[in-house]
């Protein structure tokens, strides 16, 4: 009997070990030694920067060699400040572990703002940002749309890494198919027409596809959908700063899925379709020389097409185009990847941390340092790649000198006019939802991705329009709930009574 009891106890111990694994093994958090905003500034010099010897930690997603050089430059300017940095592998895991262990970074950039806001990782930096004259010369949407303010009166974050969405065209394919290159300030309809015209299946050799995509067209269309007079779209899914309207997204989603179903879109890598088309499972459509238009991340040019000899090797001649607008408007918003960065609430030296944040992100001094290392192609990262080909972002400052230097990093031959037009048309970035809309990720997690709308519409088994009403309702609810939670009394507590009541009304109407 004793043996039985013992064996049962052991089995029980093994089983409940599972529950123990589910919990926290790091102990309760509590950075009791850290101070919040306006904490210990120590002895400040004439420029307001502390004269104490301090260490600031910076966690990021960039190339570590680039940040090594930038950190050195920063430390040259501020010799009493030591900068330590590391690359974030998984934002939620790394940061929640750091918070629990009490070694939270002073400055960090993130790819998901909901995580940072829900856990109050970012401190209010409005005081420093507003007092900084350099910030008056940034891309206008940052101020106009309050990018980094999350629809509050305070600023919690700033775009650190900026990559606009871009359309690339292979001139060789256009030439082979006897088509005309479109004008650089083209419209959405012109792009769709080009995609259709450039799809040719002559039954001999590989088929030509009109479009190869990394970014789905519905994401781009969500911002390009209408004039500001009709609805000022400040974010994905028809977000106008107050609420969502997914009817704009639905048009783009359906149009993109129809293109896929009609065979205008090249197969993705590692699919049976790709193997059938190119004869190789691993082929990437961007290296086939059989695709005319690419909806790609901007970094694809620098990291691949922009590498020396790459285009020659695959017979490509790639030029950039701005993501077109539905209406023929020269200056329009462009959906963009924007990693947001901020100073952490536990930082003891918030002003110095703000200076570091600015230097690493949008500051002119930081960009001057960046241009130096990007222009010197002898400096390479661990993979032996010149740093301009390793995740180089685009400046958000409008400083002329910086832009001249930046443009010089791109082709200066007959492709230069395309690049100039492209750079001139990406000055109104709008970040993807998860960077700048509170509750956006919750909406995707709890509703949009869960029911797999993209797959259903792409397979032709559902119409995007069927989801508009429910998706809009869900998006508004998740946003309102997140606003109350993040910025209400349980969070940063910066919302007025009136704002709280408005958000609460949305939540209540959803729950009824």
């Amino acid at each position: 009997m004793k043996r039985k009891i013992l064996s049962l106890l052991l089995a029980g111990a093994m089983v409940f070990g599972l529950a123990a694994c589910g919990g926290d093994s790091t102990g309760s958090a509590g950075n009791s030694g850290n101070e919040g905003d306006g904490g210990n500034k120590g002895q400040a010099g004439a420029n307001g920067v502390t004269t104490d010897d301090i260490t600031l930690t910076f966690w990021h997603y960039e190339d570590p060699t680039t940040i090594d050089y930038l950190a050195e430059k920063f430390m040259e300017t501020y010799p009493n400040i030591k900068v330590e940095h590391r690359v974030i592998e998984d934002m939620s895991t790394d940061l929640s572990n750091a918070a629990a262990a009490g070694n939270f970074p002073d400055v960090f950039e993130g790819t998901d703002s909901d995580t940072a806001l829900a856990n109050m990782y970012w401190a209010d930096i409005s005081e420093y940002y507003d007092a900084d004259p350099e910030n008056k010369n940034l891309m206008p949407t940052i101020e106009e749309y309050g990018i980094g303010c999350f629809d509050t009166s305070a600023r919690y974050a700033m775009p650190m890494v900026y990559w606009p969405s871009a359309i690339f065209i292979d001139r060789n394919v256009i030439k082979t198919l006897n088509l005309e290159m479109p004008r650089t300030d083209w419209t959405w309809a012109e792009m769709i027409q080009l995609i259709k015209d450039a799809t040719k299946d002559e039954r001999t050799g590989m088929k030509y596809y009109g479009l190869g995509y990394y970014n789905r067209l519905d994401s781009l269309y969500g911002i390009a959908a209408c004039s500001p007079e009709e609805r000022a779209l400040k974010g994905e899914f028809g977000y106008d700063g107050t609420d969502f309207d997914l009817s704009y997204w639905a048009v783009g989603e359906q149009e993109f899925s129809d293109l896929k179903l009609a065979g205008y879109v090249a197969p993705q890598q590692e699919t049976a379709e790709m193997e059938a088309w190119s004869g190789n499972w691993d082929t990437w459509f961007g290296a086939t020389g059989r695709v005319a238009v690419f909806s790609e991340g901007f970094w694809t040019y620098q990291n691949l097409w922009g590498q020396e000899g790459y285009q020659e090797q695959y017979g490509l001649d790639i030029v950039p185009y701005v993501t077109p607008n539905v209406i023929d408007e020269k200056e329009h918003n462009v959906i963009s990847t924007m990693y947001m960065g901020g100073v952490s609430t536990s930082c003891k030296y918030p002003y110095e941390a703000y200076l570091l944040l600015k230097f690493m992100g949008w500051g002119i001094d930081g960009w001057k340092a960046r241009l130096e290392i990007y222009q010197d192609t002898s400096i390479t990262n661990e993979s032996g790649m010149p740093l301009k080909n390793a995740q180089m972002p685009m400046p958000i400052t409008l400083d002329q000198e910086i832009w001249e230097g930046y443009k010089s990093l791109f082709p200066q031959d007959d492709r230069k006019p395309y690049w100039d037009d492209f750079f001139a048309s990406v000055t109104r970035p709008v970040p993807y939802g998860w960077y700048n809309i509170a509750g956006y990720w919750n909406f995707c997690d709890q509703y949009f991705n869960k029911i797999g709308i993209h797959d259903l519409v792409d397979a032709g088994s559902a119409k995007a329009a069927d989801y508009v009403d429910e998706a809009t309702r869900q998006a508004n609810y998740h946003h309102a709930e997140a606003m109350i939670s993040y910025f209400g009394p349980g969070g940063y507590d910066v919302l007025s009574e009136e704002e709280l009541a408005q958000y609460q009304a949305v939540v209540d109407s959803f729950l009824q």
């Binding site: 409940f16 589910g22 919990g23 093994s25 958090a29 950075n31 929640s96 856990n119 939670s485």
Partner: protein, 349 residues
């Protein structure tokens, strides 16, 4: 005798050597005790506490917002994935554990036989335990190494789907998709069976063979009853392994919830999930315990019956002895009173 008080054992003071031995014993188990307290009991209590809260770990400290049973209701009512995964997990475990145990037993019997390069084959079958862990396992699965290429999994799944409930068909289908992986999970079980098989007295087989027992009969009447406790042990080990390895989607879900930065999830939510999961795993362990541990085997029963009969016989003998003594006393008394006579041959009774 009945009224006789139970004699207390006298307390014996431990000698120097015994004390030293006791200390050494404690010293040996101390790392385990520390491990259990620090890495099991403490986190266990902590996670039990956490599950009643919504926990936000901010850089300025941890915020505990009491939610009562809110985490549980949220998991069951607002997270349709968890109940779905639980059902799939239940089916999978119930189907996969017997497959693993039976496979392990078969291999162990083969490896216990007289074959060439036995040591090498034993190493081969144990190798996956060492190699296939964590990221290596994930990579192998993503490369399709877990499936049997010749097997048309889709056809098997659709065939199962046509006559079984979807969740059940899905789980059995998964068994076929992960067949190789499941067989790789058998390394430790093979070792346990092997050691059990080696402890069976060869005289039993010899005797059985003399009596004309076939291999088949020897397996069912000698091997299986003898290693039955090991079958239970292996079944429990397999349940625990399947429930806690990295391939388990519930573990992935709990981990994701634990590190999720969104306000709904976090440590509290993950702890509630983990506890519910632990209860379900306990129920499965109990199920296997009831199936494999409750009944005694035939040999055991025969031995017990024989012992019972021996005891009964001893009681009867004692009873007869007592009766004989009583009768002898009675005769003695009667003789003393002279009213006891024995037959003297006179014909007068």
């Amino acid at each position: 005798m009945k009224n006789e008080k139970k004699v207390k054992k006298p307390k014996v003071k431990l000698g120097k050597l015994e004390k030293r031995e006791a200390r050494a014993g404690w010293l040996f188990v101390l790392p385990w005790v520390i491990g259990v307290v620090a890495f099991m009991l403490y986190p266990l209590c902590q996670s039990f506490y956490y599950m009643w809260f919504n926990i936000r770990i901010t850089p300025l400290g941890t915020k505990y917002i009491p939610v009562g049973t809110g985490n549980f209701t949220q998991i069951w009512l607002e997270n349709p994935e968890f109940p779905q995964q639980i059902v799939t997990y239940l089916w999978q475990t119930v189907v996969e554990v017997p497959v693993i145990v039976v496979f392990a037993l078969m291999i162990a019997i083969m490896l216990n036989g007289k074959i060439k390069c036995r040591g090498f084959f034993r190493l081969i079958f144990f190798l996956p335990v060492i190699i296939v862990s964590g990221p290596v396992m994930n990579m192998l699965v993503s490369e399709g190494a877990a499936t049997i290429p010749a097997m048309n999994i889709q056809s098997v799944k659709s065939a199962l789907d046509s006559f079984l409930p979807h969740s059940m068909a899905e789980s059995i289908g998964e068994l076929f998709s992960n067949m190789i992986m499941i067989l790789w999970y058998s390394g430790v079980q093979i070792l346990i069976f092997l050691s059990a098989l080696q402890k069976i007295d060869p005289a039993l087989y010899e005797a059985a063979k003399i009596d004309g027992g076939s291999q088949w009969e020897c397996f069912w009447k000698i091997t299986l009853p003898t290693i039955k406790p090991m079958i239970l042990l292996n079944a429990i080990y397999s349940v625990i392994f399947l429930s806690s390895n990295e391939q388990n989607s519930l573990i992935t879900m709990i981990k994701a919830a634990m590190f999720s930065g969104t306000k709904e999830k976090g440590y509290g939510y993950a702890s509630a999930m983990a506890w519910m999961y632990a209860v379900i795993v306990t129920l499965i362990v109990l199920l296997f315990f009831l199936l494999l541990g409750s009944k005694r085997d035939i040999y055991d029963r025969q031995v017990k019956r024989h012992k019972r009969e021996m005891k009964k016989e001893a009681r009867t003998v004692k009873k007869i002895e007592r009766r004989g003594i009583r009768n002898a006393k009675k005769i003695q008394k009667a003789r003393q009173k002279r009213n006891y006579r024995t037959y003297d041959g006179s014909g007068d009774y």
